[in-house]
Every structure is written in structure tokens, then in C-alpha cells.
């Protein structure tokens, strides 16, 4: 409701006046997180939209400090230059490819600012490439080849960064659920040489050691990442939508056929180390943002078989996926068991498909064999019971 928006702004103005902060452009050099938290630290901070939904702008500073972006200041992501600020628009929204104040550790000598821009460019070149516009410092809207994309051609159905990524909290639990060594004991040696910035009382914060430890362990432990079932559900949130997939000329039975494989069954039963979507569709050693169409020769699931001899061609990539060290390392592609890779995980048996016709026939035979046999035996049992309770006369 419009009146609720107005009330919200009036509330903010009151807060500002109560805090004594003048409504003027703030010097960027003095712009700190505390200035933002003067308003966004209130739990009731939010607006009600016209569609009836409510969006809260409350930021818990303790939670945020514990998250993976805890070291990033507000202004690094949000293009806010004055307090109170104007409502966020399409041109001032957060862009994940923006550079922040952090220095890229591997390029510290050149003081290069850290940015997710490389990931964004990789993602734009992938099968999920998105044509939405991110303005501000980054004003490029093209197909990845320098060719502008018209608004009508933009693929607004493709996922953006926030569709898959959240701002997770650091979690140092081991894969089996147990907690790792107590941080105090583990970091004692690190803290001896890396005290970090001092606190107000003059004691070392050890912030660098703590964050470095959490930064590394967060990415090494599988339990801190999205679970395999979570990954399948995330990918399936779009790929199981048959209308959406049909709209983009993508197979509509991908998720259904995957869920018939033993990989999904193991995941469903809680096993963590089984193949999920990213295990096969991301080339080993590559970023998960670099998923390519299966017909692309650089795709991890690019299958190249000589149709005449049935042998694997040199440009085949699929065998690299299945034969990874933690999957099926005993696979030897030079032997004939490459036949195993003819098993297309996403095939549904059909009489019209020569490669699956025999499977379809066997499936139908056993289906009707089971059905007819069980039905006949049940009918026999029923007739016997009836005959037993209504015996012939004289018995």
C-alpha cells in the first residue's frame, strides 16, 4: 500500500532526526557500516509492497559478521552515497561483479581489487547465460561476444547469482557432523604471529586468523556446502518445470530420468559422496559456473563415439567425468568397458527409440507377468476361501 510506504519513510526520517544525523551527502571516506546500522539495525525496518508482501531491511550485525561477506563493507556492494538514501532502483541494485575494497590476495603486489567479475563473465558464457542488465560501474549487456542483446531477447528465465547463492554463515563442522578441533587450540599457533587489528581495549582481535581459518575450512568441508540433495532440488527447481523447459527447447524429463538412477537413490538415502548434477555437468577442475551445452565440444558431458565402430573418439569428455578419482577410478577407457558410458542416464525406454526398444519390451513383459500372475493367484485364494466357507452339500 502506498500509505504504508509513506509511513515507512516517515518512520525512517524520525529515526534519522532522533539520531541526529543530518540528511546530507556523506563523505565516502567516513561512510561506515555503523552509519548504515543506525537504520538497518532496527528489526522492524521494512516496507509493504503493493502485492501484499513485506520486505524487511533488518541486518543483524553479528550474523553478517559471521557470514562469508562479513569483511565487506556495505558500500562495496550497495551504491549508497547519502543517508537517508533514495529507494533502490534497477540502476542502483547490487551487482555481484562489482569490485570491493578488498585486495585480491594473489595479486597483492598490484593492489588489484577483489571482484566476482570473472565468475560473472564465465557465467555469461555458459548455458545459463543471462541477458539482464547490471548498470552502475558495470554497464555491459551483451551476449559475451560483444554483441548487444536487445531487451526482447534477454533470457529472464535464466538464474541470476542470488538464485543459487545466498550469503551463508561460516560453518566449521566436519563432514560427519562433528565439530572440528576447538578453534582456540587450532588457531593458537596462528594467533601467535597474526594478531590482527587491535580492539578498543588494546587487545588483538585475531580477526585475520579466525576469518582465514573459516574461509578455508568452509570451502573444504562438504558438509558446509549445499548438500547433494539440495543441489538436485536447486537445479530441479527449474529443470523439473516442464513448461519452462519446453519454452526453452530443453528436455522436460531430465530430473525424472535422473531420479531413476542409483545416484539419486543414494543421495535420497543421505549419502554425501554420490554424483549429483554438478558432478557430471561441470568439467573436473572447472568452475560450476561454466556449464556448457552437451553438444558443445568443451562440455563435460560431450560424448563422442564413432557411429560405425562404436569406439570412443579422442575428443570425448564424458569418460573424464565418470572416471574421476572419487567416483569410478577403476574405469579404464582404453578397454571395452567404455560401453558402460553408452548408458545415458537420462533416457526413458521407448519402442520408437532403437537404442532402448529392447529395454522397453523387457519392461513391459515383466510388468504384465507380475500383474497377471499376482492377480490370478489372489483370485484363486479368494475363490478357495469362498468355497471353504460355502462347502458342497453333504460335507
Amino acid at each position: 500500500m502506498l500509505y504504508k510506504t509513506v509511513l515507512g519513510l516517515m518512520f525512517v526520517a524520525c529515526l534519522v532526526l532522533a539520531r541526529g544525523v543530518s540528511a546530507q551527502v556523506v563523505d565516502e571516506a567516513n561512510f561506515t557500516k555503523d552509519d548504515c546500522l543506525k537504520c538497518h539495525g532496527y528489526k522492524e525496518m521494512g516496507i509493504s509492497r503493493k502485492n501484499g508482501s513485506t520486505k524487511y531491511f533488518f541486518v543483524d550485525p553479528q550474523l553478517f559478521d559471521r557470514s562469508v561477506h562479513g569483511n565487506v563493507s556495505c558500500k562495496d556492494c550497495h551504491q549508497i552515497r547519502d543517508i537517508p538514501h533514495t529507494p533502490v532502483t534497477e540502476t542502483t541494485r547490487v551487482f555481484c561483479g562489482r569490485e570491493c575494497h578488498l585486495v585480491e590476495p594473489s595479486q597483492a603486489d598490484t593492489r588489484t581489487a577483489f571482484s566476482h567479475n570473472a565468475i560473472y563473465r564465465t557465467f555469461k558464457g555458459s548455458v545459463h547465460k543471462r541477458g539482464e542488465v547490471y548498470t552502475g560501474d558495470f554497464n555491459e549487456e551483451d551476449s559475451g561476444n560483444g554483441i548487444p542483446i536487445s531487451p526482447e531477447d534477454r533470457n529472464t528465465d535464466a538464474p541470476a547469482c542470488k538464485y543459487c547463492h545466498i550469503n551463508p554463515l561460516f560453518n566449521t563442522r566436519n563432514d560427519d557432523g562433528s565439530r572440528a578441533m576447538p578453534e582456540q587450540d587450532l588457531l593458537a599457533r596462528c594467533k601467535a604471529c597474526h594478531p590482527g587489528p587491535l580492539l578498543d581495549d588494546g587487545t588483538p582481535s585475531f580477526r585475520f586468523a579466525n576469518r582465514f581459518y573459516m574461509h578455508v575450512t568452509h570451502r573444504l568441508q562438504r558438509s558446509t556446502k549445499r548438500s547433494p540433495e539440495g543441489i538436485v532440488n536447486l537445479c530441479g527447481s527449474c529443470h523439473a518445470d516442464k513448461e519452462l523447459m519446453a519454452k526453452h527447447n530443453v528436455r522436460t524429463d531430465i530430473v525424472d530420468t535422473y531420479k531413476k538412477t542409483f545416484h539419486w537413490k543414494a543421495i535420497r538415502f543421505g549419502h554425501k559422496g554420490t554424483a549429483h548434477c554438478l558432478s557430471c555437468h561441470v568439467m573436473p577442475g572447472h568452475s560450476v559456473h561454466d556449464i556448457l551445452p552437451r553438444k558443445d565440444k568443451a562440455s563435460s558431458v560431450y560424448k563422442s563415439i564413432n557411429p560405425r565402430t562404436g569406439d570412443m573418439n579422442k575428443d570425448d569428455n564424458l569418460h573424464k567425468v565418470c572416471g574421476q578419482d572419487f567416483c569410478h577410478p577403476t574405469l579404464k577407457m582404453e578397454e571395452k568397458n567404455y560401453e558402460l558410458h553408452r548408458l545415458n542416464l537420462h533416457l526413458k525406454p521407448s519402442l520408437s527409440d532403437p537404442s532402448t526398444a529392447l529395454e522397453f519390451v523387457v519392461e513391459e513383459i515383466f510388468y504384465w507377468l507380475c500383474t497377471i500372475t499376482v492377480m490370478q493367484l489372489c483370485a484363486w485364494m479368494l475363490l478357495e476361501l469362498v468355497r471353504r466357507f460355502f462347502p458342497p452339500k453333504g460335507h
Binding site: H271, R342, V362, V374, R388
Partner: protein, 287 residues
């Protein structure tokens, strides 16, 4: 056909110790493979998740499933070897009755008779031999199932090895056969077989022949009347006027004799009279 009844016999030996042992191993291993395998097929159900967790997870369930499967196949081969051994010992003579449950024309007649009886087209229950058509069906269904599982199980266990000799879609076919046959086997055993041996009104709550090896007289008369009469006739030294299956085999092998054979069979030595039998019975009572 002999019309006599006997009062002194209450239990009849039916299964030897080795036969009961084979069955015990079979039921144990089959139950294990079923309860560890079915959750893997119906992974999307709550009961499957519960059972899987009961076993300690998917990997433990797979280990138990494979061990039980190996024992099941071993039991199959051991039983087959036992059959061959017994047949050779008996010189392949009595296979119609005792050691191989081969279907014969009598089973067909019985089946037709039973259908008529159940559909109220006849009031006479067919008289069945030592192994009726139900038991033969159960026996050969298990035989068929063991072959199916024994072939497709290793295919799923060692796909890398199998695909060196077979096309990859053989794995998919093996999976279809293995899982669908499991459904059929579980349904037949836990519905049909359990009804016949435990859950039927005359057997409830449980039949005991599978571990005692003895069948009571009531069940013998009810289910195997033809065999019951033959057993009692044999024990009392009474020669039935009907040739036994062994006689039928011997008759086929013997040279064709003259028609005087019929007259010879009507001699006093081969035919018993009721008066003779009653005298014998009186003698036993004196004892």
C-alpha cells in the same frame, strides 16, 4: 482305488533334514535380500527410508544384500547338486513322485478339477498326489527366480566387468529384470505361499511341516489324499489295483506280453479281499 482309512498313523514324514535345511537357508536369505533390496527400489517412500536407516545406511544395506544374495545362489546350487545326487542314488526311477517335482498330466487334470470345484461346477475335490500342482508351482517359481537373480545380480554388482563383454544396455535390462522379478517373488511368496502354508483357515497361525518335517494326518487327507492312500497301502502290505508310477515306467520298459497278463493279475495272490484285511486288523488289535 482303495477306500480304506487308517487310524493309527497321526504324522507322516514329508521332508528330510537336508530338505528342511535348504528351505531354512532359502527363507532366511530371501527375506534378507527382499528387505534390503526393496527399499532401494522404492527410495521415494517413507518406509523405504526407515528400513534403510534401520540397516545403517545405503552402503550397509548393499553389503547385506550382496552377502545374502551370494548365500541364496549357493543354496540354489547346493540343492541342485543334492537333487542330482539323490536321483543318481535312486537310479532315476522314482522321479515322478519323490525327488523331482516335474509337472505331469495328473497335475493338469487336478487343476481343471479344482477350477470346476471352485466355480461350483463340480462338488468333488480332486485327489492330489505327494506334491500337488500348487507346490510344484511354488518350487519352480523359486527355481526360476533364483536363476533370474543369480544372473542379473552379478551384472549389477560388476557393471565394469560385464560391459567388457556385453553392450551397456544389458545393465539396464538386468536392472529391470532384477527389480521386477523381486516384486513378483515377494508377492508370490508373501501372498500365495504364505496363504497356502500358514494363513489358510486350516493352517492358521502357522504350518509346522517346514521345521518338523512331519505332516499331520488331517492335512495329508485334505491335501494329498492319493498319496496318503498309497502310503498306507504300502505300509500295510496292501497292493492296490492301480499301477503305481514306478509300475508304469517298468511297464513301458518291459516287452509286450500276451493278453493272459490280465488273467494272471486276477489271481488270488495279487488281489486282496476285504475279509482278509479285516482279519489282519484284528491281529493288530490283539497286540
Amino acid at each position: 482305488m482303495s477306500q480304506h482309512t487308517y487310524e493309527e498313523e497321526e504324522y507322516f514324514p514329508r521332508f528330510t533334514f537336508s530338505q528342511r535345511l535348504f528351505h531354512m537357508v532359502l527363507l532366511t536369505t530371501f527375506s534378507l535380500v527382499a528387505i534390503t533390496g526393496l527399499p532401494q527400489k522404492y527410495v521415494y517412500t517413507k518406509w523405504a527410508y526407515f528400513l534403510n536407516q534401520l540397516w545403517g545406511g545405503i552402503h550397509t544395506a548393499r553389503v547385506i544384500h550382496r552377502i545374502a544374495g551370494v548365500l541364496l545362489v549357493f543354496d540354489f546350487f547346493a540343492h541342485s547338486a543334492y537333487l542330482i545326487y539323490r536321483l543318481r542314488a535312486e537310479k532315476w526311477k522314482s522321479y515322478y513322485r519323490d525327488y523331482i517335482l516335474l509337472p505331469n498330466p495328473n497335475d493338469g487334470h487336478n487343476l481343471v478339477g479344482w477350477v470346476k470345484y471352485l466355480l461350483y461346477m463340480s462338488d468333488e475335490r480332486p485327489e492330489q498326489d505327494k506334491y500337488c500342482w500348487k507346490e510344484k508351482f511354488d518350487y519352480w517359481a523359486v527355481y526360476w527366480g533364483c536363476v533370474m537373480f543369480g544372473v542379473t545380480g552379478p551384472m549389477l554388482w560388476f557393471p565394469h566387468l560385464i560391459t567388457q563383454y556385453l553392450p551397456a544396455y544389458a545393465i539396464n535390462i538386468g536392472y529391470i529384470i532384477h527389480t521386477d522379478e523381486a516384486i513378483l517373488a515377494v508377492a508370490v511368496i508373501f501372498l500365495w505361499h504364505f496363504y497356502n502354508v500358514h494363513m489358510g483357515p486350516e493352517k492358521f497361525p502357522m504350518g509346522t511341516v517346514w521345521y518338523t518335517g512331519y505332516l499331520d494326518k488331517e492335512s495329508m487327507v485334505e491335501e494329498h489324499l492319493m498319496y496318503y492312500r498309497a502310503v498306507m497301502d504300502d505300509r500295510h502290505g496292501i497292493v492296490s489295483d492301480e499301477p503305481t508310477p514306478e509300475d508304469a515306467v517298468a511297464a513301458e520298459e518291459a516287452p509286450v506280453e500276451s493278453d493272459s497278463y490280465v488273467e494272471d493279475a486276477a489271481s488270488e495272490e495279487d488281489v486282496y479281499e476285504e475279509d482278509d484285511y479285516e482279519e489282519e486288523e484284528d491281529e493288530d488289535d490283539d497286540l
